[in-house]
Symmetry: C2
Subunit: 593 residues, 2 copies
């Protein structure tokens, strides 16, 4: 027997009083009070209170056997709750349902943790019983919001004349940057597919193919050593457009964010986002993904103190380093002598800076921790430049560039947390532009692409490719939200020559470039359009929107930090004949001591 | 220099005459006529005719250097074409653009084939230059239709309170049915992920998790020996619902098809689809995916001729076989003596039937090819039962069941093609229901699941699981369109005991079931809801909608029949150090002689 539901557990209210209805759901709680059994019945939409009265003896007896997480169907009559038992916090708080019939669809053993929000259960247990963890309202809400996010993103691009195109998951291995996941081919012995780190080459080929405007919400894969907040597979909003420039990407992406944050979620965000160049972001915020929800910008004191007798300052200044600082408003009193020692230790450990110098400002003026070596005029000049007032504390780092700026940027974030400068539900978007095209890597003694090898240099810098590559600015941009990089893209190279020069600059041999990217170089000989695009991290956007603290909380079935699924035990062992079919065998596994 | 477009190449008409506009696109053709250069400029939206007049000498000279597939920007003035040069077939046929400025964005070498519809180029060449093939209007239209299809499907499910949830691509290998693609884990030495053949277990777990209604458009993977019309990766519309029965799935899916075919494409289809049981489909059409766009149903003559002296008939009848036939209206004249001999050969070869018997009906009545052995009354009775009239031809097969029915079904399709019984743009949907739960496999000497091991038996048949499994009907259904299976699904098992019995029935040992599906069995001990779902083949639906003859024509970057991409050469060789990292090595490859 089964009871086909007429309503969900989240929708009954005073207007339904007197109706006979059917609900299906899970027993959230059962209470026996003076001969009456109360059930909170839960589904994805909400909770409804069910009552089994003593009069219905048989039914009442059945209800006494209900336990948490049993799945049931209930037929009953909606009645208004007594005034004192109404619950304004629940959407169904005005009513209750008097049960007339009950079907138990399935029973449940006692769950390993309570199905409610804010539990402190070990995450490994929650991942093992992910299907139970997902019954908790907060995770349900996260998945529902994520579904709404897909909808908003897709309809935005559909409405703006983009075509959704699926690109292959089984593609060619082109190891650049992160490691590829490989898939052995059975039909082609000794050969392998790779899972895409991004559909970059395919979306560029779609532009060559004249598709004009492409988008896709697509799974990407990186076989990285996992950090706290990484997943082996992640989801990207992937976009590419032809016959456009940076402004078109900015406008299109700003429109999308407006749609997500304002139209869908009711948060106010500006129509246009602020922009800073990469260089400015480093100098003002010590980061290429600045959190601009608070000020406390970095101030450069190098010219003021270059001539100080203090060895730290003048050796740094003469060797091309910098002396920089931030002003902590009200910091003088808040951070006393002991606190500043602890802070100095922390700064050394967490930012890698060599030490911490400070200026305390009170009603008598500015006094520094290095007054013995730096004269009072210089100290006052620093305090004045950064606008420090009575009660403030200026924190100063000295070191080589650009490291001292990023160290100071880390210090800035540390202080913002310490002094609670960041308000919730504040959305600061920022474009960071004009990234360097390449950076020198000491380890491998070669240049690396800051974005990827398909990013176009600024036209006026193309001449520097053979002479001074580090000076080249790229037509690349990142989208930053509250200090998180949520997207990045570029205008692409669309001619064979520049693309070949780029491969050369990155130390990719010509034969290697041909082997890996020959098809793209060849495609560029058939009239490619100027094009560019952007990719955004959907998981991260969902995380920021929900206020979750981990990507795992916005992914239905995430992997743990060992890239495993504790629920189903993947990755798992496979049969030898499966490996035989794939023409591979396991190497003896040597455990390191 | 660049020219930012104001319009696409498909939108200018008489209302734009006199406007200065900018177009971007590809040179489709260039003609020089009496000092005037004509360019057909193409983008995804259409073609616009551009004119370079002799007066603008410098511009005209530039235009003479344009070649096919160059990418250009053109600034010009829209003017009305002369009456005699208007082209009603083109959306832009009323106007032309007189060029005032030209920018060449990129040049093109001569393409390996012409960028136009209906080319006869070898498919391997077209796949190698897929980015050029995709410039052809027919393939562009296919991809645009596919994008529209995604949109329609997604908005249908969004609007019906389904949540879109992404399930993992890196999952557990559970080889059942087709082979898994495997992905070696670097971080977990000796272990492997598998790519999903379908997200079946995950969507069921989402139901256990209380997600209620789930959908996803999802890539699935099967490492099969490739037939003409298979791809290693394919796209599925995947749906699952809780607290429902078959009728809910039918109604929801019929609504989706109505949305796709009628609302989006303007084709009339019925609100409700016909249904036949599996047994009926086999007996009437000789197929579990009947093409019902024409009649010619199979007629069973066994009882009529069981007592005939003809050895073929009576040995077949007494050994439990069947004598069945179809009536070819007008076939008597159309298929003469020679043609019937050729048909008999073809039937033997293509259907596996032992031979072909026939009855010719003319104004004198029915005469069979076996009149010597079968008496006239029996022949007439057969003709009467199948309704054969003057001019018809009845084709008859005899053999064991159920093979003789499927052979006759193949013959039926053969005749429908021969006699052009199938009209274009006719959409016959059909639900095939009540599939057998399992079928006996002679090779492996065990039962196989007809759908998959999670399909629920009909409740009244559960008792047969230990006694007569072949008799069990499943709560499984396929959706058939014009003789193509475009979807399939079932109401699932949702209790541990039945699921364990099912594994046992399929010869899956208990430890093996635990190892592979233990997590699902365990999930079923925590109050799973009754649930069921369906999965539809998006590629196939796109193919039927576009009228394409191959799945490859509706996939942006398909693989060839060797599961390779001729464009980028995947699957490719990888570096030994990549394999070392993955703890695997290649086995020596032995070429078979």
């Amino acid at each position: 027997m089964s009871l086909t539901r007429t309503h969900t557990c989240g929708e009954l209210n005073a207007s339904h009083v007197g109706e006979q209805i059917i609900l299906n759901g899970w027993v959230a709680t059962r209470r026996d009070l003076g001969g009456v059994v109360f059930i909170d019945l839960r589904d994805r939409h909400g909770i409804t209170q069910i009552i089994f009265t003593e009069e219905e003896k048989e039914l009442h007896a059945q209800a006494e056997h209900l336990r948490s997480e049993f799945t049931v169907g209930i037929l009953g009559m909606v009645r208004e709750r007594g005034q004192e038992t109404k619950n304004a916090k629940m959407s169904t708080g005005e009513i209750e349902v008097v049960a007339e019939s009950l079907v138990v669809y399935s029973k449940s053993q006692t769950p390993p943790f309570e199905i409610k929000d804010g539990i402190a259960t070990n995450e490994e247990i929650r991942l093992k019983y992910r299907y139970l963890d997902l019954r908790r309202p907060e995770l349900q809400a996260n998945l529902v919001l994520r579904s709404k996010l897909y909808k908003t993103v897709r309809n935005y691009y559909y409405d703006h004349d983009f075509n959704e195109v699926e690109t292959p998951v089984l593609m060619k291995s082109t190891p650049e940057g992160a490691r590829d996941y490989l898939v052995p081919s059975r039909v082609n012995a000794g050969r392998f597919y790779a899972l895409p780190q991004s559909p970059q080459t395919y979306k560029q080929l779609l532009m060559v193919a004249g598709m004009d405007r492409y988008f896709q919400i697509v799974k990407c894969f990186r076989d990285e050593d996992l950090r706290a907040d990484r997943q082996p597979e992640f989801t990207q909003i992937d976009v590419e457009m032809s016959f456009i420039n940076e402004e078109d990407i900015y406008a299109s992406t700003e429109g999308l964010m407006k749609e997500i944050f304002t139209t869908t979620h009711g948060y106010e965000i500006p129509a246009k986002f602020d922009r800073v160049t990469y260089d400015e972001a480093i100098r003002r915020f010590g980061s290429d993904k600045p959190d601009t929800r608070f000020g406390m910008e970095i101030c450069d004191f190098t010219d003021i103190v270059a001539s100080a007798e203090f060895r730290v300052f003048n050796s740094v200044a003469t060797s091309g380093g910098a002396i920089v600082g931030i002003n902590v408003t009200g910091g003088n009193e808040a951070i006393g002598r002991g606190a500043i020692d602890r802070l100095t230790d922390r700064v050394r450990k967490e930012t890698g800076a060599g030490g911490l110098i400070y200026i305390r400002v009170d009603k008598d003026g500015a006094k520094s921790s290095v007054d013995k070596f730096v004269n009072a005029e210089m100290v006052q000049a620093m305090a004045d430049r950064i606008g420090a007032k009575d009660g403030d504390l200026v924190l100063i780092l000295a070191g080589k560039q650009p490291d001292v700026f990023t160290q100071c940027g880390d210090l800035r974030l540390m202080m913002a947390k310490e002094f609670n400068l960041i308000k919730e539900k504040q959305w600061n978007f920022l474009w960071v532009t004009e990234f360097p095209l390449v950076e020198w890597d000491e380890d491998s003694q070669r240049y690396h692409a800051l974005h990827h090898p398909f990013t176009s240099p600024k036209p006026e810098h193309i001449g520097l490719m053979k002479t001074d590559p580090a000076k080249i600015k790229a037509r690349a941009y990142d989208l930053v939200l509250n200090g998180n990089e949520i997207g990045g893209g570029s205008i692409r190279i669309h001619d064979t020559e520049t693309q070949q020069n780029m491969f050369e600059l990155l130390g990719i041999r010509e034969d290697e470039a041909q082997e890996k990217f020959g098809f793209l170089l060849e495609a560029f000989t058939f009239g490619p359009p100027p094009h560019g695009g952007i990719a955004m991290g959907l998981d991260r956007i969902a995380m920021l929107l929900t206020g979750a603290t981990s990507l795992r909380d916005v992914i239905a079935f995430p992997k743990n930090q060992k890239a495993q699924s504790p629920m189903d035990g993947s990755p798992g062992m496979v049969e030898t004949n499966q490996l035989d079919d794939l023409h591979i065998k396991l190497k003896p596994i040597v455990k390191e001591l």
